[in-house]
Amino acid sequence: MLDDIKKQIKRLQAQGATYVDTRWYPYEERNSLSMWNGNLKDTNATRQSGVGVRVLYKGAWGFSASSNVEQLTAIYDRALENARVAAERVTFPIRLAEKDILQASFASPNQVDPFTVPLAEKVDLMKQVDAWLKDDAVQQRSVDLTLTRRLAHFIDSEGSQIEKNIVDVFTRVEVSSQDENGVTQERKFRLGRRGESRGWENFDPAFFQEISLRIVQELKELLAAPECPKDDRSVILLHSIMFLQTHETIGHALELDRILGYELAFAGGSFVTLDDFGKLRYGSNKLTARANATLPNSPGSFGFDDDGVPAQDNLLIDRGLLVGAITSRQMVEEANARARREIFQGSSGANRATAFYRVPIERMTNINIDSGTDGTLEDIIAGTEHGIILDGDRSWSIGSNREQFHFGTEIGWLVENGLKKGVVKNSTYKGDTLKFWNSLSAVGNASTWKMHFVDNCGKGQPNQIIQLGHGVPICRFDNVRVGE
């Protein structure tokens, strides 16, 4: 098959294609189990295989994919034909930034391949977790387990050939109940980074027991809690909302294709302009953010992106100053040319597709915030006069240029005069992105830093759902409107 692919690539080059690449997935497998109130509603497995072909012709992309690999020639012809039509409307002929030609492979580290674990053992684990969630106060319990693995080959006309073997595990545990007003309150947990590997060994029953008991306890407190007040105060964001704040107002805002207007017709643009790199004060000097795809255990680490560029650790925001973006080979060339200066030195290796049948676009890797010097959560609370601690993503809605946002959270704890007070429900907060990040007044130390996994980031047309990570400390922001 690899030889056939190389022959097809050569054939299209002979017909005028200036660049061709192919992603062949011999398999991508997914195992998903979903339990509601003790009923194992879904026991699903999927297996898909096929090829995706990307062709550059006279400065325009064509793409074609099929699960029917017996008709390889037709897939390549269609990709070239698509590029030929696209070449009739070119405004900025696509060029690709230089990269190293590589013969390489990447395998995600895992001790126990979750696909080798018997189904009965997985079901037993879920039953056990479900039992820990059982409580008279809990009306709905759900436990989801998703395991994925794929073998993917990347071959391009420049001579790179890369093999990737990637395993990921995701889980979600959730409880909910209606309060006295008939309003549903919920508390959930998603598995994040634990240790250095990403296999079945992440499912440690003792850890799940602790988490399960905690979310049940917090749900009970929510059911008896008063409403979140509506006023301006400091917000202290714990990991399960801090990750989302980072995701929506740093991650998406710094995707270079959005900045260049390639998502304007759908997902939106970015308030960031090319002029802003090296100049814009994105946040207070306590804010340092980076795109780090080199951490071993995260779905945002994949060895090489779908341009064949190796994973990197790049600064995005350096002590408040905007310095970098999430980039691909195509977009850095266009950005540098449009800006008439070299803002980006090569691709940051963030061009990814969710499946063989989707075209790669710029996606977040692990978009992380560096830990700070403001101590533990207790220290941050002690230094807060009038605030609220928030956790758990419930809803998110962001302006089309990522300039403003509204988040609903699962739980809040009021803070008055340095002391943590009771729980409040239906907590929300909102703000303007730059004003918000510039109000960052405390960043927790390394002991507060945790890696959160995201398994549902959507972008692009056709839409692609991708997996990534966010390593974040606990942070405090001042003068934020809550409860609206």
Partner: protein, 461 residues
């Protein structure tokens, strides 16, 4: 092609019967193309041809499924899929209810939604359509974007319980044409949804866009003060709000789990404004109707609200089984939601703008990035985008920067609803996460809602 689908399913059914299994087989095929425009170029021209076969094996109240996306000719992989599902079901856990297994009672073939002319449209023809929709408007600063997404869907299903097979084939297209200002960062949008090629006409898109572009260029921008506004929602905003009813409205399974602003006690009572008539109506071809569900149940018109009176929840078969409710024929990838028009005689934006008005009106065509803040209260939040206008009392127009609203569906469609336009249109809300699943909601072209609170107002576009 149909013959290959039937014979593939037949072989799978025979194989499963030989193994003594109870199984269902779902065949899904999509042939999708998407031409994407950005910065006045075709940024991507793609097509995907995918065939997926999902095999579900039942053993009493145990159930497991296995889906293969591969070459249809790979018989071996498909048969191995049956074996895998059969092995999985042994180790899964029994449900505490009895799941209904699909039983197709009569051979059902519905190709009425398939339009060969739409299926055969070339990339060249799509490009010509796009050029016509944007004719005369592009400049260096004002750039063309959007999509022309089209495809063919085939769904076929059978089970070991009967010898019959269901087969549904249909075409769809979703067109979004956007003009965006590179410096001022505003965007205006015109959309069209098509089930047939004859539904496609770039003329009204060009007219709508040129009207908006003219105003966005000429009229003063304004940061709206916070407060209550009388809003005219466009079809897209209305359709996107209604789409949330699939999760937090009339979906019986989610209601039972506590995620609805409607309750069983409200069935038969006045919940929304008497202006609201809403149904799942498979007789409207614009909704890409599925006239049988995946269980083999006929899907005729299913009323949801009549003059604001709530008529009942819809159930997936599995949730009907779990919650001991009668099945409603809603085990489908998408329903056919229609929201009937009212009596206000406005049918275009130009007409709306020229109507005399006794108060300021905010035209709110599109709800960007909406999400559910509180499912139990039906509270959503989202921002304006793609061509909002402030139609002032004195007849002038201003162009508002984007604003956020966080209303409750119960209020929007209840006491605050002032009028619905007589004319309706199909708004294509497809997102194509994963498998191609075209979905359009038929809604009034315009809907006036009074006293909607603006909770955030941008200082720029």
């Amino acid at each position: 092609m149909k013959e290959i689908v039937f014979s593939t399913l037949e072989q799978l059914r025979n194989y499963a019967r030989q193994q003594g299994l109870t199984a269902t087989f779902l065949y899904r095929e999509e042939d999708s193309s998407l031409m994407r425009f950005a910065n006045s170029a075709i940024s991507l021209n793609t097509n995907e041809h995918l065939i997926a076969i999902e095999i579900t094996v039942y053993d009493g109240s145990r159930r497991a499924s296995y889906e293969v996306i591969a070459s249809p000719g790979d018989q071996e992989a498909l048969l191995r899929g049956v074996d895998t599902a059969a092995e999985m079901v042994k180790h899964t856990m029994p449900l505490d209810y009895a799941p209904t297994v699909t039983a197709i009672k009569i051979d059902f073939v519905d190709e009425s939604g398939f339009d060969a002319a739409l299926a055969e449209m070339s990339s060249q023809q799509k490009l010509e359509y796009f050029n016509a929709a944007a004719a005369g408007m592009e400049t260096g600063e004002l750039r063309l974007g959007g999509i022309f997404s089209s495809g063919i869907n085939v769904l076929a299903i059978c089970s070991t319980l009967t010898d019959q097979t269901q087969y549904i084939k249909f075409t769809d297209a979703q067109v979004n044409v956007v003009l965006s200002h590179a410096v001022d960062k505003w965007e205006v949008l015109a959309e069209q949804s098509a089930a047939r090629k004859t539904d496609l006409d770039p003329t009204p898109l060009q007219d709508h866009l040129s009207f908006l572009v003219e105003h966005y260029r000429q009229d003063p921008p304004i940061q709206l003060p916070l407060g209550k506004y009388d809003i005219i929602f466009g079809a897209s905003a209305t359709a996107h709000m209604l789409h949330f009813m699939h999760w937090i409205g009339f979906n019986g399974g989610l209601m039972k789990r506590g995620y609805s602003f409607l309750s069983e006690a409200e069935i038969g009572t006045q919940v929304l404004s008497p202006l609201v008539n809403m149904a799942d109506d498979t007789s409207d071809y614009r909704t890409f109707p599925l006239r049988q569900d995946l269980i083999g149940m006929d899907r005729s018109r299913y009323p949801l609200f009549e003059k604001g009176i709530f008529r009942g929840f819809t159930y997936l078969q599995d949730e009907a089984d779990e919650f001991a409710q009668p099945a409603t024929g809603h085990t489908v990838y998408h329903d056919s939601l229609t929201f009937a028009g009212g009596d206000h005689p406005v049918s275009s934006l130009r007409q709306l703008v020229s109507e005399p008005r006794d108060t300021d009106l905010l035209y709110f065509p599109y709800l960007h990035y909406a999400n559910i803040v509180n499912p139990s209260r039906g509270v959503l939040t989202g921002s304006s985008r793609f061509g909002a206008l402030l139609l002032k009392k004195d007849g002038t127009i201003a162009v508002p920067f984007n604003v956020r609203i966080s209303p409750s569906l119960k209020d929007i469609l209840g006491s605050q609803l002032a009028w619905l336009s007589r004319e309706s249109e199909a708004n294509n809300i497809s997102l194509s996460y994963g498998a191609r699943n075209p979905q359009a909601i038929v809604v009034p072209k315009f809907m006036r809602v009074n006293g909607v609170e603006i909770t955030h107002s941008n200082s720029s576009y």
